[in-house]
Amino acid sequence: MDLSPILLTLKLAGITTLLLLLIGLPFAWWLSRGKAFFKIIIEAIITMPLVLPPSVLGFYLLLAFSPQHGLGKWLHDSFDVQLVFSFPGLILASVIYSMPFMIGPVKSALQTLPASLAEASFTLGKTRWQTFWHVLLPNIKPSLFTATVLTFAHTLGEFGVVLMIGGNIPGVTRVASIAVYDSVEKMDYASANNYSLILFAITFVLVIAVFVFNRYQAKSPLA
């Protein structure tokens, strides 16, 4: 059995989760403050991958990344970067695709913190970032944990987007979900079963971890 699709999937999920921690946390913090209408619009856009079929995202990425015109052409001509059929392209797609899983829980948790918490920190002479890093984040650990694990797990389950822009290249874009599909297409049900079981086991452990962790934190599991 070829394990490379599984390893590739784990690599993709790991990098995506790290990037979303870097991008998503400050972003969630920014969204959690104030109720401006444009913030609602932005939040709605970030949430779209939850409700849109992944094929829609895949379709637009395919058009956007095409080296023939627009953004894809500029990337291609300026940096010689091609995002379709490449691992970096999958990372970008996964970041968009899993963003609501990182931002949603973190933003909700930040909004439930009492305002006095940040104010006390400012009073003691801490900067905004120090406050965010040392005061706010430690107070939302359970949600942070949930968001991180679910972002990782959700990326493991990515399929439609990769089917559209991946090209099924072994070791580059042939992730586990695609390997399952491909094996079924070839009527190689034994391989399909192997990949499926491994995926099931990994994601099940992750989801259990979230539920157990949250039980001790006395919070609802998906908050």
């Binding site: 395919l62 058009l63 095409s66 379709v84 090209g167 099924n168 070839k186 009527m187």
Partner: protein, 258 residues
């Protein structure tokens, strides 16, 4: 009481009308035949459907996919009446396993082409594939798409398969290869000649027909499936596909016929 009766009247009328509609519609629904067609036929299928409807009044529901995928679906009980494959092996397998009424018959010979949206000159396409000019080459998944198998065989024969592999992306069927070529996300793709005719007015394509001597002929076979065994319309469609009328349509789309 009276009120109730009065209330029931429209309901009864609607029920009666619905019943009438279904009785009238039943033969119409039964007339439709379900055809599973290999992805290379996508461009030509619409024309065949129209022509067949004109001649017989029978509508066709076509499902397009890679031959291998369709065989897997048929083997798992998909209710198709007729299967138009891109090769002979897949329908042969169906017949062997008892899913088809009879052995497959060739209805057309496919033409493999190399094609691009850019005018990059295909005179020496072997060298072109190896050059830095070409970054991505699309091929249909050889395991389930006969055109992909032919393309792989061609590259093996030219001794450049291993060199082209790093540039290769796999479409799940020839349809996906066509998408990759026409959107320009790949530089070149190996596909079917019928694509060129289909998109002629939308996307000008540059292509070269591959010398048929360099790969095994793509003999495309048709079978009537178990599900359509007693369906007179399926039989009509089968005969139509092998008729001169259909053959001339296939020819117009770049297929060769026997």
């Amino acid at each position: 009481m009276k009120n109730e009766q009065y209330n029931n009247k429209p309901k009864k009328i609607i029920f009666f009308l619905l019943a009438l509609f279904f009785c009238a519609a039943a033969p119409v629904f039964a007339q439709n035949i379900k055809v599973a067609a290999a992805a290379n036929l996508q461009p030509v299928m619409e024309v065949l459907q129209k022509d067949f409807k004109q001649k017989t009044g029978i509508s066709i529901d076509a499902v397009i996919g890679s031959s291998g995928k369709l065989v897997a679906q048929i083997s798992n009980g998909a209710p198709f009446d007729v299967f138009l494959s891109a090769d002979m092996d897949f329908p042969e397998t169906l017949f062997k396993n008892g899913f088809a009424k009879q052995k497959p018959v060739v209805y057309a010979l496919g033409s493999l082409i190399i094609c691009s949206t850019q005018n990059i000159g295909f005179d020496n396409w072997e060298r072109l594939l190896l050059s830095a000019r070409v970054k991505k080459v699309a091929i249909a998944n050889p395991a389930i798409a006969p055109y992909g198998k032919a393309a792989e065989q061609l590259l093996t024969g030219k001794g450049i398969l291993d060199d082209v592999k790093p540039k290769t992306v796999y479409g799940e069927s020839i349809s996906q290869v066509n998408t990759y070529v026409t959107t320009g996300v790949v530089d070149v793709g190996f596909t079917t000649q019928s694509l060129v005719k289909e998109v002629a007015d939308k996307t000008p394509l540059f292509y070269k027909v591959i010398d048929p001597k360099t790969y095994d002929p793509i003999l495309q076979g048709i079978v009537i499936l178990k599900h359509g065994a007693d369906n007179a319309n399926a039989d009509k469609f089968y005969k139509y596909i092998l008729s001169p009328a259909a053959k001339s349509i296939f020819k117009a789309y770049g297929y060769r016929v026997q």
